[in-house]
């Protein structure tokens, strides 16, 4: 082998090795999170996931993640109810009605907004929106509605652009065919294009849900600190992500409390893993 071939082969090997690294990271993330949550799982058993009480610092501590898990689900659901229809309307508008220049402006602002850090949204909510909510009847500065508003601001650009992409990727002839048959723009977009774009739209829904459920800073700052199941929109809620971020700083390394926070991470990791795999499957099938 001459020098050139050695160089070629070594570079090829290097690329493959680095590619292996990404598999390694995924395996290690699962490995480390599971390893750290084992002490809690073995000492608390199934109660860790089904218990409603979360009193990690009491003299008789209780480590139940269920209330916080339900909190995560509730705030995700509440946000989804706002952001999914709104995102669809904006995507529909961009696809069906917007002039090219309007589309350009909205797209550029979506691009820029996608980079806004969540901590800034959290800070904004507490400084400007919380006092307004207080006047409207909120009894706590931080509540589930405030968190949902923040999550909406955060995910709206993302949802709208994913949905718009899904609709635009449908073959143009379908829209033109529908319009030629006398359908109105709304009918063409709603009954024809949206149906054809269904896999892409579902994909957008799943990715949005995944993003909301894993978001930390907004819920940590805006949705409050009580690990209870909220009964009204003004009640505070503590989702899993917020519990991890706020309690990890004060916890004793290696304690059951520490380990059960990792178990909370394991729950989040599993959810996001399943959602991403489903989304991958949908988008792969539709791209064929």
């Amino acid at each position: 082998m001459n020098k050139r071939e050695i160089k070629n082969n070594s570079k090829n090997v290097m690329v493959v090795c680095v590619a292996c690294f990404s598999i390694l990271i995924l395996v290690m993330i699962f490995g480390f999170i599971i390893k750290e949550s084992l002490p809690a799982i073995s000492s608390e058993g199934f109660k860790l996931f089904s218990g409603m009480l979360w009193y990690p610092t009491h003299s008789e501590p209780e480590y139940g993640l269920a209330a916080m898990f339900i909190g995560s689900l509730l705030i995700t659901l509440l946000t989804a109810v706002i952001v999914l229809p709104l995102g669809y309307i904006i995507a529909f508008f961009m696809y069906g009605y917007a002039m090219p220049w309007e589309k350009n402006i909205i797209k550029s602002s979506i691009d820029l907004l996608s980079g806004v850090p969540s901590v800034i949204i959290g800070s904004f909510l507490l400084v400007y929106v919380a006092p307004i909510f207080f006047k409207l009847g909120a009894w706590s500065r931080e509540n589930i509605l405030l968190g949902a508003v923040g999550l909406t601001i955060l995910s709206l650009p993302y949802t709208a652009s994913l949905m718009e992409e899904a609709m635009s990727s449908v073959d143009k002839s379908m829209k033109e065919g529908a319009l030629a048959l006398g359908a109105t723009k709304f009918r063409a977009g709603f009954s024809v294009i949206s149906k054809a774009a269904m896999p892409g739209l579902m994909n957008a829904v799943i990715l949005t849900l995944n993003r909301i459920i894993g978001e930390t800073m907004v819920v940590l700052m805006a949705s409050g600190g009580a690990a209870i199941i909220p009964m009204s929109l003004w009640d505070p809620v503590r989702p899993l992500t917020a519990a991890i971020a706020s309690e990890m700083g004060e916890v004793e390394l290696g304690s059951i409390h520490y380990s059960s926070l990792f178990a909370a991470g394991l729950v989040l990791l599993t959810i996001s893993f399943i959602l991403t795999l489903i989304s991958k499957k949908i988008s792969r099938r539709s791209s064929k």
Partner: protein, 277 residues
């Protein structure tokens, strides 16, 4: 037909309203924070319980975390992107790499924080430090960079590769001397977007590298650090009204910084896509 016009108006109003609200929010924040900008704000330490002084240590912290994580993430991300676009076939191994990158892209940032805490801070003994934080963020950015690099490389026309092969170039020469060079601008865009995410990320850095307040500069990469997002978080949560100005100022600075990074990235991207038309 009348109904269609009505719907088009309703949809237009809703879209405009949503975007105006979101943009108004950020403009308020930037403009209000802008009032607190002064030379001292960028060059001094916070003083008197965050009521005076500036955000100098947080800026230094954010920039050093950004530098180190990009130094790790760029080579890894570019190589993985190269693999996904140029080397991956239909085989089992390629499929697993592809799935791993997709799965990593969906992992919540707080879980990356837990992972970094467990592996870098504790197992490898880096403790809460710039190094732990940067490595955690680097791993988090890896899927972002590698999937954009992959897209960038796939956009390079096939003729370019074929001509290079026809001239007798070997696989790695085609990839590194022709394809990567042709996709240079798009790769810069990918890196800028990754960088924008690193600098705004808060949750992982809270777990792995951030310190509440420090009166000294970090002496090395094994010291903890203040960053802009963590600083904003701590001030908003733990300080009273008299310190909020600093959160606003720091947020405005962080936003302007990120807006500059993103506008550059999207400007480059738009320029290329126009050039191709």
């Amino acid at each position: 037909m009348k109904r269609d016009i009505a719907i088009s108006i309703i949809f237009r109003v809703i879209s405009y309203a949503a975007f105006l609200v979101v943009i108004a929010i950020f403009l308020t924040f930037i403009l209000e924070g802008f009032m607190y900008f002064s030379p001292e704000f960028f060059t001094q330490f916070p003083q008197m319980g965050m009521t005076k002084g500036g955000i100098f240590p947080a800026i230094v912290g954010s920039v050093s975390v950004l530098m180190i994580s990009l130094a790790v993430a760029i080579p890894l991300g570019v190589f993985t992107g190269v693999f996904l676009s140029e080397y991956a076939g239909k085989g089992f191994f390629s499929k697993i790499v592809d799935t791993s990158i997709t799965a990593l892209s969906g992992v919540p940032s707080i879980v990356y924080g837990l992972f970094g805490l467990s592996i870098f801070c504790i197992t490898l003994g880096f403790r809460t430090s710039i190094l732990s934080g940067s490595l955690t963020l680097a791993i988090m950015t890896l899927p972002v960079i590698s999937s954009s690099v992959r897209e960038a490389l796939q956009a390079v026309p096939r003729e370019l590769r074929e001509s290079a092969y026809a001239l007798g170039a070997k696989k790695s020469e085609v990839v590194f001397k022709v394809v990567l060079v042709a996709a240079k601008e798009r790769i810069i865009t990918a890196v800028l977007i990754g960088g924008g995410r690193v600098i705004g990320e808060t949750a992982p850095i809270l777990l792995t590298g951030a310190i509440f307040y420090s009166t000294m500069m970090p002496k090395g990469i094994l010291d903890p650090v203040m960053t802009l997002p963590s600083h904003i978080y701590y001030i908003t949560m733990a300080y009273g009204q008299s310190a909020q100005w600093m959160a606003k100022g720091a947020s405005a600075f962080l936003m302007i910084f990120i807006l500059i990074i993103y506008s550059t990235a999207f400007y480059i991207r738009r320029k290329i896509s126009n050039a191709h038309k």
